[in-house]
Symmetry: C2
Subunit: 361 residues, 2 copies
Amino acid sequence: MCMKAKERLRKLAEEVFEQFENGENPYIEIPIRSLRNVRFDPEKGLIMMGGEKMKRYFLNVSHAKKFMQTLMVASFVKKLLDEKVTVDMRDLFYSLKIPIPGTKDNVFNEQNESDPIVEDLEVTLDLLREEMNLKADKKGAMVGDMVIVDGGDEIDLRRQGTGGWSIPSKVEQDVIQFKEHTAKFVLFVEKAAVWERLNEDKFWKKMDCLIVTGKGQPSRGIRRLLHRMRYELGLPVIVFTDADPWGYYIYSVVKQGSINLAFLSQKLGVPDAKFVGLTTQDMHKFDIPKSLGIKLTQQDIKRAQELLKYEWFKTKEWQEEINHMLKEGIKFEQQVLSNKSIRFVSETYLPTKLEQKDFLP
Amino acid sequence: MCMKAKERLRKLAEEVFEQFENGENPYIEIPIRSLRNVRFDPEKGLIMMGGEKMKRYFLNVSHAKKFMQTLMVASFVKKLLDEKVTVDMRDLFYSLKIPIPGTKDNVFNEQNESDPIVEDLEVTLDLLREEMNLKADKKGAMVGDMVIVDGGDEIDLRRQGTGGWSIPSKVEQDVIQFKEHTAKFVLFVEKAAVWERLNEDKFWKKMDCLIVTGKGQPSRGIRRLLHRMRYELGLPVIVFTDADPWGYYIYSVVKQGSINLAFLSQKLGVPDAKFVGLTTQDMHKFDIPKSLGIKLTQQDIKRAQELLKYEWFKTKEWQEEINHMLKEGIKFEQQVLSNKSIRFVSETYLPTKLEQKDFLP
């Protein structure tokens, strides 16, 4: 992993150096990350980046500073990999908030300058930032029928108490290894409170699965972990969110990726993920009083109408669900199931839907 | 723990029942939680609630609904304790979003009605909500020289990989027990990224301590855990935040409690906690370029001036620090130390300050 990253950094540096030596105007070729270069690939089921690239030149007044910044970040990352140390984006920024020799200016003055340079490097070198020893905030937790190795420590995910194992931001193979497991699938749960309910009821034991929570929109680390479990272990990924446009969008990000991080879809996406609920149509199936719903806001309605138009929500089932939500004018939170009884979610709702494979695609 | 809670709930119910039987107008006596009933107790070093109480009557048009709600919540909590099940505040709300017999109204229509009733019960019965099997969001992580028991599972905090043990919202003795430990103190770290740096460098091993992060303002669970480690294990608590008014306030909440939760100060506060940094004066001690600071905003300045007036910041040392910040016009983030070198925080800054006991009171 680390060798691959070093190799690509070296190649980048060598190319630039060669251009210098040949008396050419050195440049770096960077794939374009803007919306116009993003599209949905129906075959792959992923939001993907197109092939457009731009050249960033050294001898160009409007490029020169960014060219220098790109090489400074690349060189800093090389140092991280050599020293086997992991830092976050803020550390990287502070480490390079240093004067440019012979000027009064700094390499970076604000983090919003250094963040995009890291993304440029990710897409140029086809590396995750985590593979470059850069990390984001950690978020989320997991328990279930599996033993993993995390930074050399063996961790039994069946014995993680009430809190669970917290998912680090870097979950690449060199840090996290899957050991034995008997789990049959992975359940991703939007709300931490619902995850805690499932953990307290040992849902993962009864259903032989892993349960993961993202506390809202999942971090890159969580998405990468879901992706790895799907492709390295062959475990189906099933998603459980609120019945509202924001919950549906969380599902969509887990499944086909996001526009922002389109260049990572193949590393983070799980195109055959399934959606178990909550749906607004569940109110009929499970006899949930409409009065427990929350009235859609203008923002909800606008977002739902946007979702209807996304290519990847154009299946019959999703159009029905979103239109049903708009017709009824309400949304439901996952916790609404507590109204039936505290353990309804773990004893009735999820087992029923999972058994009947009552999923949205 | 659970017996104590049940006992007090029973007593509350019996008192109300007796008043009914005696033909009196039944009432519940509830300590007042507003600012006018809160003061700083310099002897205890805690923000405490005063002795003012109010009576909530059944036969009073403006009290009747709240009286009913209070008893409904008490009865629901009794059920939770009987069934040994833990839920969050949202679950409680949904469980009681049920019609009042003979009316078209619900017991609760919005969660902002049920939350204060829970706080009323906490203060009336002198119980933490966690003791009533109600929980808040979990947040934060811990690693270090200790083995704990969490929900029956033995967890070795020395072998928690990169993510650490995630601290649950309920950390009472019936869920979390401390087993063997060799730690000499507890370091609370504001930023998760800095905590991860310390974890990666095995700082807790080198310094023989526990490291806890709260990801900003610590949750009740984290504060309760710090309190328990201080009083059950005798471990000093040392706090490490950004050098800005918000970081200082985090310290103050850990130490003397908050106005909001003044009724819990004695269960959550650690009045002899110490502040290791970051301070703006560290820029001189550790030769941190002023250019790495961030200019104070109007909001920062206003907040700093408020802090200067809090009784518990009136020590010479804190007045000096806050005035120094205002004079220089800058604040520093914890990650600023990365500019010296990535491991500066774990190899130089913290060891130096801890060794010299260079703390603010």
